[in-house]
């Protein structure tokens, strides 16, 4: 229990501490404390791996207290450390600590220095809450918390209104997904009377519930994942979220928060395994997303936007893996993706930092000689994501491709195409940024400098893992370890059922390598020439791709505009009629009525007498009739 307290409590403490007194402390202290608050949980978690080693001690639980009791079911604040959650914790705190370290250099000149570290720590806390919770309630707390932190961090430079709008967009889209998640939770609670993962999975496995119910719950939970992990149709917030500082993009929108959806589905593996319709749905959505995002990313000009669309596309990969039932493979790809995507984002941040906050790739180029460390680490990241043989990305992608192949040929082909496109746009970005001639007029090339050590050390570490990270889960043809999958097996009892012949697997491997080569050669041919100037404007299909297929505009027209109209209408009715009429409108009415009544008092005695008599008559009559 104390371990859990350390892991959860330290980031929270960092948040409170830096939030309150960080303003008055020197920047070095703020940065180091924040980084330590994430690094210490990492080492604690690392130490716990050994404890979870034997097959008998699979989890450490801590039931803290009962949050509330609903229908005689206690909903508890309780945490569990098992292999799945410890793995996620390692990723979160490990990559998180590196990014914290990086941020001390990147955000050095920013006046909100203490704020970002407070927010980052709070984010880590919420993310850990999400993965360490033992029931849906804690997960939901963490879910909402990371959504909040995402909003805070995207809109960090709040003085820019556009950034605020991007933050709001992220939050609202997240919320839409949360509605699905909440409905799923309600269904779970009302049908199974529990929100604990263990009890829930046991009940599903034991009894036979109607597939419609299970499919419904699965799809609702997936809708929540759609919002958080940026799948179609709720993905448009992620590119806009690049408005935040680069370390934020690295941490939240590459390595951790967007993976929460994957975690949710992996955690409820049994539910999804029994919902074939839902998993099919997930697979197709993942396919569509990865294709669409890859196409859009192919023609973007902002370095961070390319990486954002790349993230969406890779998340699509992971969801495809979930859709075909390869749960631990999805987790494997999540891990390797965290490594190289964080590396790529931090590298991009280094470039941006060196180019004095220039983000448009059309105004970069020829940076190889000026920023060698960044160059080499970035290259490693690009190779990893494109599937260069034996780097980490190669293994994880290949596993997913193999799993998809056993599911069907068409999905496999589509996914392979998406992998090809991935290679193309990544290398396009790489060559445009680092090769060719220097194309910037505002910032003299001599001022371009390499980043300080606090920023380059994380790059190196991440590059190391991008290269060797694949070793944790080698496929069967290389060695029989498949370590990660086996290690996670007790948690994810449904073993991948893909039995492919060795020969077929090798053929698939060959295709993957071929895809990489095609991408590399093509882009090298197109983009490597020294005199190539990237096109400023695109035409035709490429223009549509550059403009994100106009999907944002479509959303604005179809969804937002009608809602605004309805809102205006309601404003008119509610505010105008109910409020204004009943408060301001009564006055003229009263005046009019009183003016009518005034005529009765005309001083005429005869009238008064008549009124009196009529009143008496009426009184008597009413008395007579009704009583």
């Amino acid at each position: 229990m104390s371990n859990i307290l350390i892991i959860l409590g330290l980031p929270l403490f960092g948040f409170i501490f830096n939030g309150i007194v960080g303003k008055f402390l020197p920047k070095s202290i703020v940065g180091s404390i924040a980084s330590l608050m994430v690094a210490i949980p990492f080492f604690t978690a690392f130490g716990l791996i050994g404890e979870l080693g034997g097959n008998d001690q699979l989890s450490i639980n801590w039931k803290a207290y009962t949050f509330l009791t609903l229908d005689n079911v206690p909903l508890m604040v309780s945490f569990t450390i098992d292999r799945l959650s410890i793995w996620m914790t390692l990723i979160i705190t490990g990559v998180g600590a590196l990014i914290h370290l990086y941020s001390t250099g990147y955000m050095k000149e920013d006046e909100g220095f203490y704020k970002i570290f407070a927010y980052l720590n709070f984010f880590v806390f919420n993310m850990l809450l999400l993965v360490l919770g033992s029931n849906f309630l804690m997960m939901f707390f963490g879910w909402e918390g990371v959504g909040l932190c995402s909003y805070l961090l995207i809109g960090f430079w709040y003085k820019n209104v556009d950034f605020g709008k991007a933050a709001r967009k992220a939050f609202v889209m997240n919320r839409i997904g949360d509605l699905g998640l909440l409905l799923g939770l309600y269904l779970i609670f009302s049908n199974f009377q529990t929100l604990e993962y263990a009890e829930f999975s046991q009940q599903i496995a034991a009894g036979n519930y109607s597939p419609n119910l299970l499919n419904a719950i699965s799809i609702l939970l997936f809708i929540g994942a759609m919002g958080k992990s940026a799948q179609i149709p709720l993905y448009t917030w992620l590119p806009d979220a690049m408005a935040g500082p680069t370390p934020v993009s690295a941490l939240i929108h590459a390595a951790t928060m967007v993976t929460a959806g994957i975690y949710l589905i992996v955690r409820n593996q049994i539910l999804f395994a029994l919902s074939p319709f839902a998993t099919e749905f997930i697979m197709w959505i993942g396919l569509a997303t990865s294709m669409l995002a890859a196409l859009i990313g192919l023609k973007q000009t902002d370095i961070k936007k390319v990486l954002a669309y790349s993230t969406v596309s890779q998340l699509g990969f992971m969801f495809v893996a979930l859709g075909v039932g390869a749960y631990s493979t999805a987790l494997f790809h999540l891990t390797t993706h965290a490594f190289f995507k964080a590396l790529l984002f931090l590298g991009a941040g280094s470039v941006i930092h060196g180019m004095h906050h220039e983000q448009d790739m059309r105004f970069m180029g020829g940076l190889k000689s000026k920023m060698p460390l960044t160059y080499w680490t970035f290259l490693i990241g690009t190779l990893a994501i494109s599937g260069f043989p034996f780097l980490s990305g190669f293994f994880s992608k290949d596993e997913i491709l193999a799993a998809t192949y056993t599911h069907g040929v068409i999905p496999y082909t589509l996914l392979l195409t998406s992998a090809l496109l991935t290679g193309v746009y990544m290398f396009r970005m790489f060559f445009e940024t680092f090769h060719g001639s220097y194309r910037n007029e505002k910032w003299d090339i001599n001022n371009v400098h390499e980043s300080p050590m606090v920023m380059t050390i994380p790059l190196i570490v991440l590059a190391f893992f991008s290269v060797f990270g694949g070793l944790i889960n080698l496929p069967k043809y290389l060695s029989d370890s498949g370590a990660l999958v086996n290690w996670l097996h007790p948690m994810l009892p449904i073993m991948e059922h893909h039995e492919i012949e060795h020969s077929e697997e090798l053929i698939l491997l060959g295709f993957a390598v071929l895809v990489f080569l095609i991408a590399f050669i093509y882009t090298r041919g197109v983009f490597l020439k020294k005199n190539t100037v990237p096109s400023d404007k695109e035409t035709g299909l490429f223009s549509i791709m550059r403009n994100k297929f106009y999907i944002d505009e479509a959303y604005q027209l179809i969804i937002i505009r009608p809602l605004e109209v309805i809102g205006d209408l309601l404003h008119l009715v509610g505010d105008g009629i109910f409020l204004k009429f009943f408060t301001f409108g009564i006055h003229p009415i009263l005046l009019y009525v009183s003016r009518l009544n005034k005529r009765i008092q005309n001083g005429n005695i005869e009238f008064y007498l008549l009124y009196m008599i009529i009143a008496v008559v009426i009184l008597l009559g009413v008395n007579l009739i009704f009583f």
Binding site: E606, L610, I613, I614, V616, V617, L620, G621, N623, L624
Partner: protein
């Protein structure tokens, strides 16, 4: 009509006279005629009192109402010289309104009576209306109201005198009309 003719004759005649006089009171153009008709009405009402075994009240009615109050009215009429005044008649609309109101009242009260039960005649002692008995009741049960009515009279008297007093500054209208 049959039920009407079953009524005893005295009652019938007296009621007839009363109602006729009352109608003449409200419709006559000459105010003096109205006063005289009212006096006649009082006479017939006193006769009704006699029928109802309230002999003392009958005499008192005559003395007070017909004798004093109506004479007072006549005095004022003469004082104001309203002999053959042709007062403007109100518009027909008023007449209709007044008729309707009064008619409604009549209707409602009779309807109320119809709804309620009918009284059974319980006779009374023969000499209940004589002075002796009335006086006994007056002086024992109703002593306080009796005294209070005396005070009432005093205050009315004082008030009437004060109201009728002429202001020393204003000219009297009689002087004006004479000059």
């Amino acid at each position: 009509m049959n039920s009407l003719l079953n009524l005893p004759l005295p009652f019938l005649i007296l009621s007839f006279i009363t109602i006729l006089c009352a109608l003449y009171v409200v419709t006559s153009k000459n105010p003096v005629h109205s006063v005289l008709a009212l006096i006649l009405a009082f006479f017939s009402i006193s006769a009704h009192y006699v029928l109802l075994n309230a002999q003392f009240l009958a005499i008192v009615n005559l003395m007070v109402y017909a004798g004093a109050i109506m004479v007072l009215f006549l005095f004022v009429l003469m004082l104001l010289n309203l002999n053959k005044e042709s007062e403007p008649i109100k518009s027909k609309l008023w007449g209709i309104a007044a008729t309707i109101s009064a008619g409604m009242l009549l209707l409602v009260i009779t309807a109320a009576f119809q709804k309620s039960g009918v009284a059974i005649y319980k006779g009374n002692a023969e000499d209940i209306g004589l002075v002796k008995n009335l006086g006994k009741v007056l002086m024992t049960e109703y002593l306080v109201p009796f005294e209070l009515s005396g005070i009432l009279f005093v205050s009315a008297m004082v008030g009437a005198v004060m109201l009728g007093k002429r202001e020393s500054n204003s000219e009297s209208l009689i002087d004006k009309s004479n000059s």
